[in-house]
Symmetry: C2
Subunit: 221 residues, 2 copies
């Protein structure tokens, strides 16, 4: 197993030696290709995942199959809800999929449960992650209620550019709709509006940000 | 101080004797009248509140002053976000007010922090509450995105009737709007529609549920 696990695992230095040993004895590695469904509502519960490199998103689905992204995970993030079955107060179904090829460690459920029950630093770290996920959800409530869709699209494009490190985004209108809980047709209309305003340039399968500053102003309006 | 604190405090029996003593030594009682603002965004941080009897709601405000209720607290609930300043991952401003005259215990911030840091059962219980608040937020996201307002009003009226133990609700259209993130005018239109359908009867300051079954069908449609 990869020796850098200890550097990646949060609160490692605050764990008892016995808990450190339990982790090293039971953790395994996983290589997960981009686009893999790793958690689907409440139907599976594979364990706690720690991302070494890669990208995931957690989203919910409407009865009609519409999607909206609740949060995204990157290098060094812990994927808590792939172990949500041991948290009985989690009363919602979230779907998690990889957005990029992902290398991660998988901490088995019973190891995770032992750590939570016996280690205050571990339980507090979980609290911190729960607080982050709750902050994500609250941010989304404000966006959905009080931000118009053009501002949300502007914000999403800027976020993507920051994640990908480029202004040339390989992304379909459908994918953006699935992140924002909207429809492809609505996204196409919004993007054409942004193009008319000189903020982006659209071509097949690609959206290029041509005026990030103007996009930023729109987002914060 | 009220001796029943030990019966109300969650995980009391799983705490070390020293932590039990710390709680008993530092906890105080509060009587808070209905309609009192007890936490306002990130500007105050009074400590952890445990409700003996009463009712509170947590809500957020738009820049234009619109409100939407995120969660409500009842007897025996812990009000976590009145101590949110010690949880650094909480990145949102929530406002909390009493909806009824409330008797509660106030656990000072430093006692709460000591308990969290030293007690795994306490930290895990906080996790459980965070999970409940996250479930509330996720439920709200689904409602706002995918439920039409008539269904949300139907659900709210049934919930109010369950809380108050009566079908005769003393509530204004404005208050309902503030719970649901909407406008008074929209509520008035919805309620008139429900009255035309024979589900409620409107009179000054009162909404009477006349066909709970039909309202229930609408909510679940």
């Amino acid at each position: 197993m990869d020796m850098s696990f200890q550097e990646y695992f949060p609160v490692w230095n605050r764990l008892h030696a016995s808990h450190q040993k339990l982790l090293l004895d039971t953790v395994t590695t996983r290589k997960i290709p981009s686009g893999t469904l790793i958690h689907n509502g409440s139907t599976d519960c594979s364990g706690l995942m720690l991302l070494q490199t890669g990208q995931m998103r957690g989203y919910i689905l409407s009865e009609e199959g519409r999607e909206i992204t609740i949060y995204r995970l990157f290098d060094r993030d812990l994927c808590l809800f792939s172990a949500s079955c041991i948290m009985r107060s989690i009363q919602f179904d979230i779907t998690i999929e990889t957005e990029k090829d992902t290398d991660c460690w998988l901490i088995p459920l019973d190891t995770f449960q032992t750590l939570l029950e016996e280690s205050a630093p571990m339980a507090n770290y979980m609290n911190e992650i729960m607080g982050m996920r709750l902050s994500d959800a609250m941010w989304l409530i404000e966006q959905v209620l009080w931000k118009s869709m053009d501002k949300r699209v502007a914000g999403f494009l800027l976020e993507e550019a920051a994640i990908e490190g480029t202004n040339r985004l390989q992304i379909t209108h459908e994918t953006i709709a699935n992140h924002l809980g909207s429809h492809r047709e609505v996204m196409t209309r919004m993007l054409k509006y942004l193009q008319n305003e000189g903020m982006v340039q659209l071509s097949r399968g690609t959206i290029t940000i041509t005026d990030a500053e103007k996009l930023e102003v729109l987002r914060n309006e």
